[in-house]
Structures are given as C-alpha cells and as structure tokens.
Amino acid sequence: MGRRGCRLVLPLIAAITVCSGCRQPESRVRIGLAIEPGWYAAFALAREGMADLPIDWIADSSRNVNAAASALQYAESLADQRVVAVVGHSSSRGSVAASAVYNRRGVLQLAPVATSRALTGGNPWSYALVPDDSVEGAFLAAYVDTALKARRVALLYHNDEFGVGIRDGVVAELERRRVRVADERFLSPVTEGFRDMEITALLAAALNRRPDAIILGARMMETRAVAAYLRRRRTTIPVVCSDGSYVFAPRVPDRDLTMLEGIRIVRFWGHDRDSVAAAFADRFKARYGYAPDQAEAFTYDALGLIGDAVRAGARTPEELRSHLESLGRTRPAYRGIAGEYQFSGRRAFATRMDMGLIRDGRLGAVNPAGAGR
C-alpha cells in the first residue's frame, strides 16, 4: 500500500474506530401511574428493582383516580405526556372510565385490582391482574351457600362498576343455587363532591328482611361501618365481603382490623399464601411499618410486569402488549408476588382466590369449602 493509499485508508479506519466507541443514547419509556396515594409505597419498593431500566415514571398522587370525571381528566393528561403504559386505576369505576381514553389513544393500561368486566371487554389496550367480578361473585355466592348454609341473603354493594359487577355475579350464582335474595340495596359510588351514604340506614332496612347472611360489595370504610353496626345490634349474622374490603386506607390506624373480627373477605392475595408473599410482606413491613394489603401486592406485581417487558426490550405500547400476550406462550409466565401471570382475554387467569377471615385482628385464610382459584 502506497502513501496515497495510506492517506485514504487510515482516516477511514480512525473514523470507524471512533464511531464504534460512540454510544447511541438509549431510548427511554414513559410509564404513568394512576393509583391510590397509599399504593405509592408499593411503587417505591418496586422501583428499587428497576433502577437500571430506562423508565421515566409519570405520576401525580394528588389526583383522584377513582371518580369517573377526574379519572378521565388524569388519563388525558398522562396520554398528553406520551406515556406508553399506565398502571392503574385504583377502582373499577376509575379504571373503566379511563380505559376509554387509553384505548382511544393507544396507551397500555394495567389495572392491579379492577374486577369489572367492562374494563377488559372490548378494550384491546386494557389488562387486569385479578379475576373479574362474575367469577368473584360466584365464589361469594358459593361460599354463603356451601360454607354458611344461608338460604336468605341480603346484598349491599356500591352502585358503580365494581359493586354492580359483584352483585350480578352473586345474584346469578344464588339463583342457580336457589338461594333467595332477601334484600338488595346499593351504596353511593365513588364520586367527587357527593356525600357518602349512611350505610347504617340501608343495613337496618336490610336486616328487617331477616337474611341469613350479608354479602357486601363495598370497600373497607363501608365494611367497618357494617361491622360496627352489627356489633351495636349484637347481631352475629355472617358478613361476607368482596375483595374491595381488603383494600386498606393509607393511614396506619385505618389498617387496624380489630373492629372487624369475624368478617370474611375474598382474597386474591395473602401474606400467608407462600414464601414469596411472606417475603414481600416482611420486606414491606420492615420498610413501612405495616403489612401490605392485596392492592399493594398487585400494584407491585403490575410494576414488575412493566419492568419485565422493558427489560426484554419493549419500548412501545405495541411491544409491551406483545410481551404480556407472550407470557406463558412463547416465554415463561411472569412470577410475581401474587403468583404466576399469563393473560387470556387480557385478564390474568391464574390468580387464585380464597376466603379470608379476620381473626385476632389479622386477616388469614379460612379454608372455605368451594374456594375458587
């Protein structure tokens, strides 16, 4: 090679060397959070395990993500900030309302504890980690029939997507089992600017019908009110609650279950399920001083699923969705706190259900007959 050739080749080699040393900036994904303020503890814990991932978290914990109107507004703001996925919302009502925005704008939605069938039905971008309300409602009805031998049942439920879904599932199963619905009343839904119902009036009217058991499709606040009223009336009528009652308020005192002794609650997760759940609960309690509820567990798992997809190279909503669909098919199911995740019809179908019982101030398994998965 002559001098002229060197003048051409050497700069070329140098350019190649420099370029190979240059790094392309890694593309980052923007993930939105639409969860209860109390669930941010689970988020903080989950984020520690994803610090190496190119994820920008977009959140506003001051927003009400459960009421329909505010959920819509918040969803639009997240979509405007070009998030590719959202973990949330907290309740079925907020999740269903926001799903309209996410599906219109092509944002992947992963709802930790929304059971409403309206969330995943017909919404190609909305995924849920827990069974839907018809499955849960059937489980509740089966329990009161087989475990409690109830022949007359009173229903109290929130008049929103969550409560109505539970009610429909319960009524259908009770009819099949020929258990009579003695009374049916609904509570105020999750709204903004409206006064909550006085559940005691409704409960008093329902008890006039002499039910054998009460099925409650409500949240922890209503559950406490029911338990308190029944104690005042010294009534031992069994109360069976949907999973919504196992979502605690963020304030530690509100997690005191002493006043709920004997209340039965459907669980999708429990710290006593297995070692993984126990380890998570210990870690959570060590960090924050109180035991996590199932909402925090599923929030943790939802974030883990997102992280798992990003770690696998997913950067767009399409890629994230493709990753979720591939779990248990072309790649192993994702092992989370609440079990293994694989999706069918955009709902994790492997999540187990069992009946919990508050005993000695703690919620543990009651080993009910006819417990579902």
Partner: protein
Amino acid sequence: MKYTVRNRLVVYGAAGVGYLLVLVASLALVAVPAVETVDRSLAPLQGVFVEIAERDRQVLDEIEALDRYVHAPDSALRAPPGRPVPSRAVSPLLSNYGSVLPPAASRELARAEDAVAWIEAAIGEAMALREIGDRRGAEDRLAEIRRNRAELQRHTTRALVLALETGIEARQAFRGSMATLSWLVIGWIVLGAAVWGWIAYDAARHVFVPVGRLEAGISRIAAGDWSEPIPGHFSGELLTVANQFNLMTDTLRERAGRHAQMATAGELLAGMAHELNNPLQAIRGIAELGHGSGGSSAKDWAVVLEQARRAAKLVNDLVRFVRPPVRRVAPVDLNDVVRDGLNLIGFQYQADGITIETELDPRLPPVQADANDLVQVLVNLLGNAHAVLQNGQSSRRKVTVRTWTLGDRVGATVHDSGPGVPEDVRERVFNPFFSTKDRGFGLGLSVARDILRGYGGDVALDRVRDGASFSFWLPASDEAAVASPSAVAHAQPAKGEVFKGRRIVVADDEEAIRSVLARCLERDGAEVRTAAGGVMALELIRQQPPDAVLLDLRMPDLDGTGVYRRVRQVDPDLARRIIFVTGDPSAMDPALGIPADRILSKPVELTAMRDAVRRVLAAG
C-alpha cells in the same frame, strides 16, 4: 419529442388522465375526509343526545316515585308494588361515547354519570330510611336528591353543549371543507376548461385543420386540378402523407402524360395507317390487274401483289390494335390470335435474331372473347419475352408459343429461354405499375389479367426449370369460331364480261384508285364513269342513274355519307346498290344501316370488289 399526431394524441390522453387524477386526488384528500369527519363526529352525538334525555327523564320519574314512597302511609310501604327499585348506573354513556366525545364533553358526561349514580344510591338510602321509620331522614335525603339533580342537570347540559359545540365545530369544519371543495370544483372546472380547451385548440390547429387542408388538396387533385401540389404546411405524419401524395401525383401525372403521348402517337399512327391504305389500294389493284393479265411479268406482279397484301394486313392489324373497333364478343380461335399477334410483333423478333416457334393445336375449341383483346394479351406476353431476350446474353434465344386444351379450358403458353423470373418478383409481376424494365408503365400483365378474368379466364406465371413461361386460358365455347377479321380471302377472280351492259360510277378523290377500280370493272364489261368528289358523283348519278356505285367515304367536297343520303332521298333503290370503299371502316356512321358486305376496306381485293358489285346487281 416530435410533435407528431401520434405524440399529440398521447399528450392529449395524458392530459385527460392527469385531469382525472387531480379530480380523484382532490376528492380523496378533501371531500372524503371531510365527510368521514362529520360522520364520525355527528353520528355518535345523536345517540348521546337521545340517551341523555332518556336518562334524565328516568331519573325524574324515580325521584317522583321516591317522593310518593316517602310520603306514603306506613301501611302502603310493603304492599305491592312496594318499594321502587332504583336503576343502577354504571356509566353506560361514558363507556359508549367516551371515546368519541371530545375530552371536555367526556368529563362533563362523567360528572353527570357520577351524579346519576349518586342519585340512584341516595334514592335507595332514602327508601331505607323510610322503611326503618325515619321519615324525616327520608325527606331530608329527598331534598338533597332534588338539589343534586340540579347538579346533574348542570353537568348534563354542559356535556350536551360541549357535544353540540363539537357538532357545530364539525359542521363548521365540514362547511369549511365544503367551501374548500367548492373552490376545488371551481378549480376543476377551470382546469378542465383549460385542459380540454387547450386540447381542442391544439387538435384543431395541428390535427383537424391540417387534415382538412390535406383533404381539400386531395379532393382538388381527384377532381382533376393537377395544377399545384398539396402545399407542405404540415408537420409529422401529415407532412409525410402530403409529401407521399404529391410524389404519387407526380408519378401518375408523368405516366398519364406518357400514356397520353402513347395514345396520341397511336392515334397518329392510326391516321397514317388509313392514309397508307390509299396508295396500297392502288399498288395492290395494279398488281392484281397486272398479275391477272398474265405474261412474262406475271411472277413479278405476283410478288408485288403479295407484298402489297402483306403491307395491307400489317396496316390493318396495327390500326385495329391501336384503335380497336367496338368490342365484339364472339367465338375466337386462339390459333388465329397467335397468328395475328405474331404478325404484329414477329418483325421485332426477326430483326433481333430471336427464334419464335409455334405449336398450335389444330383441334383447338373456340373461346368466347373479343379477338382484339386476346391479341393484346398475346402481344403483351410476346413483348415481355422479347424484352428479356433482347437484353439477355443467352446464346440460344428462343420463344415458343403453344396452344393447348385442358378439360374445359383453352389456353396458350409463351415460354422464353431467358433467365427466368426471380423468386422475390414472382408474387408481384401481376401488380399494377410493377415493372422490371426501364421503360413502360408496368401495367401490361395487370391489364392482361383483368381482360382474361373478364372473360372467365386467367393468366399465370408457370414454374419451369429454365426461362419464364406465362400461360393464359379461357373457358371453351360451344359455338364455332368465326374467321379472324384480318383473314385474307383468296377468292378466284371472276372471268368473262360479268358486268356487260352495266353502268357503274366510281367516286374517289385518289386518281390512282379511281383508275384501278375503273379498269377492273371495265375489263369485266362495265361502263364506268369516275368522279373525283361527292358533288361530281351526284351529278353523274343525276345525269344517268347507274346500276351500282362504288363510293369512297372521305372526299373533300361532299363525303360518301352525304352522297348516300342524297341518293337515298331521291332513289332508294339505287341507294341499296351503293358500295362504300374506305380506308377507315370505323368511320362509317352506324345510323346509315349499311350492311357489312357493302363496306369494303382499302386496300380491297379486286375480286372482293367484283363480288360485292355482283351481289348488289343481283339483288337490285
């Protein structure tokens, strides 16, 4: 790019297609999205309006029902229909329309749905309070429900307004799109007018007008005005057409001129031939008289007579060829046609040392045709063969003419020993204006083929090993052939004083002819008086009516036709005894009705003349 007609048509087509593409693209880009946007915006809005109104009515009904329930007596609470069951609100409107409404309208709708859901729950709570006897509490809840219904209405109204604004915006956008579309349509019209107008103008200027000029030029030339060629104000294909047409016209004009020259030459030749007949008549007559008188000079006179006959035949055949008489289709012997043709062209062969051999079938059936036409065909074939052998270098130059019969066909074949016809020429030899010779029109074989096909026959170029061979044929005729007009009748001279005592007038402006004819008739005993013209002939006839008249046709003062008419007026019997002796029988007026046996062609055989006189005297 050349601006030919073809290219222009391509450009016109491209312009038209481009215009259509602009039209379609405009529709696709503007109109279709506009309509789709309106459909997408307005269709769901209609459903929202209807369902919101329905929901509002339902809520009002339930509140009224609650009002009655709360204020009903205790005894009526449990009786059927009992407690009204409020409906459950699970945001169906939000589920159905949240994705199609604008965000602000969706939020208001969500607040309205929240309000409805709360109202429904509150109705249930109010009923429960009433059931457990808290009537006051129930009334408080009812009042609160009514207040929140106002809140519901506020949110509902705002949602409807926002939805309506969306509809209005959609309509305005649609109007804007329609306005754009209107301008587009105007643009389409203007563009279309420009495109098609340009096409029309360009086509008119560069296609239709030039085609019209070309058509006018062609029509002018077709009408016979060859004074000027088609002007070359054309381009592209039209210029090529005009140039080729002008070239064709020049060629045709040149050939027509040459043809006219040939026709004129033919006419001159025919005229000269007629003039030759007069001296030949004298020579022949004197030779016949000298030969008939015997003596030592009889042989010489016989030679002179034979040559005079030969010369007369040549002249007559030439006249017939150049200016044939009226076509007469009759049974014709092809052997006679061959002989007549060889008489015409045989001298050329002899002069160039080319051998002609004939093989004539003596039992040849006749054919139905005009003999002159067939002679023309044969002379054309012999002329072509002569031209080939004349220019060729063959050491053995020979032409063979053979007549033959094959089935119902009667034909003749002309075979020359020339180089033959090249394979690439064989297909074109019968094409008009095709010729391998330097001279000529190239029409000979084409005309020959047309003549023969007119008679039901044909001509063909045979495939032979050496030379060229042309054969023509016609269908055989059942009728017997008549003798060729040029056949020479060698009748025996009448002896003795056949015409003794007869008075005959001979009128001819040629003194030699008068003398010969008079001497011949006088030798037969006739009393002959001669006239040098028609007037003198009439005077002689008037003075002493003759028994017969020999009348020349062309005379200076009064021609034979004039004499005949005058005599016919006065003495029809004598008119029937007038015999015309003319060098141009075709000049006879057919209206006179003179029979053929009283028309003698110069140079006439004296014996034939005698026979004719004898016939008229016998008939008279």
